[in-house]
Symmetry: C2
Subunit: 216 residues, 2 copies
Amino acid sequence: MIAPSILSADFARLADEAAAVASADWLHVDVMDAHFVPNLTIGLPVVKSLRKATDLPLDCHLMIDDPDRWAIAYAEAGAYNVTVHVEAANDPVQLAKNLRAAGAKAGLSLKPGTPLEPCVEVLKHYDTLLVMSVEPGFGGQSFMAEVLDKVRAARRLVDTGHLKLVIEIDGGINADTIEQAAEAGVDCFVAGSAVYDAADPGAALERLREQATRAR
Amino acid sequence: MIAPSILSADFARLADEAAAVASADWLHVDVMDAHFVPNLTIGLPVVKSLRKATDLPLDCHLMIDDPDRWAIAYAEAGAYNVTVHVEAANDPVQLAKNLRAAGAKAGLSLKPGTPLEPCVEVLKHYDTLLVMSVEPGFGGQSFMAEVLDKVRAARRLVDTGHLKLVIEIDGGINADTIEQAAEAGVDCFVAGSAVYDAADPGAALERLREQATRAR
């Protein structure tokens, strides 16, 4: 699965930018609050407008403080998947239950420096695991290959039936990095500049999907 | 002057929404961080996209913590006027100097409960004063007429040459409230739902301008 990130899109024309990647599996929406990460992007009113502007499932990645307070509103606004950061959540198990009760898939994200092991029990309550392969906050950063060990460990837990998760990766995914991520066991690839900086975002997305499918 | 607020616009089509109010004086951009106010709207990447999408002067209203750290980037992104909250700024005089040095007008905003008097010395360094006529955070709220005393006091300070400011008001401005605000001495009227909820936003804006001009 490929999830283009609108962080690299033209924010004045998001409806058109969503239409340009109509064959995507999910549309990745980077919500940042200038506190959990040093950037302020878009929030709930934009997600509400986007929900009306596209049929793509919205994959909302909340890089915000206090997701326990704010995440449910994104589910209620029609997000398909709402991902919170384990470093920011106070009660991630209850939060996952609330997200599912609100009709969304529940996602948990780990920064590059956050280990997987202490999160395994919590992840039993989640539908997606988002492994960050850059420090969250900005698009266009370089891929951190060292997080692939975390992907491989998660893949083993899924393949052996200990967890039931879509494994997603976000940060520096492009034609040079997607194959190693696919080989490590990623199911869903977030790609920002690799899609939206291309002359034809739809074609760039298809090329990434072919590369990942072949490598996987 | 009328400054339509995109807080009430369709965030998936901001370029079109700006074009729909092409006769506006400024385009008002509500930046909220879910910390200074309980809502998260849009931030710097959206302002950068907007700057390319419209020729309207961007009037950026930063309802955020620590504007001393963040405001300059909005000026550098091409905002015409950058307004910070006196309740959030650590050193509002230095901040105004930095904004002007970066090529923007400097604006200072006061919440409804914040008195004018302690801010008068600081306001000597500013170009605009934004009087909030609702609690900042959301569109569609009712006008608080009690803030007009603050507008009248500011008007006197400007008319007597003690301050040199554009007096701006934000919150609940519509056909029922704009005349009393104009009579009190407002120069620039922010209007969100009164413009963007209208069938013809451009016509709604012209009607508001006529009402304000007549009353003033």
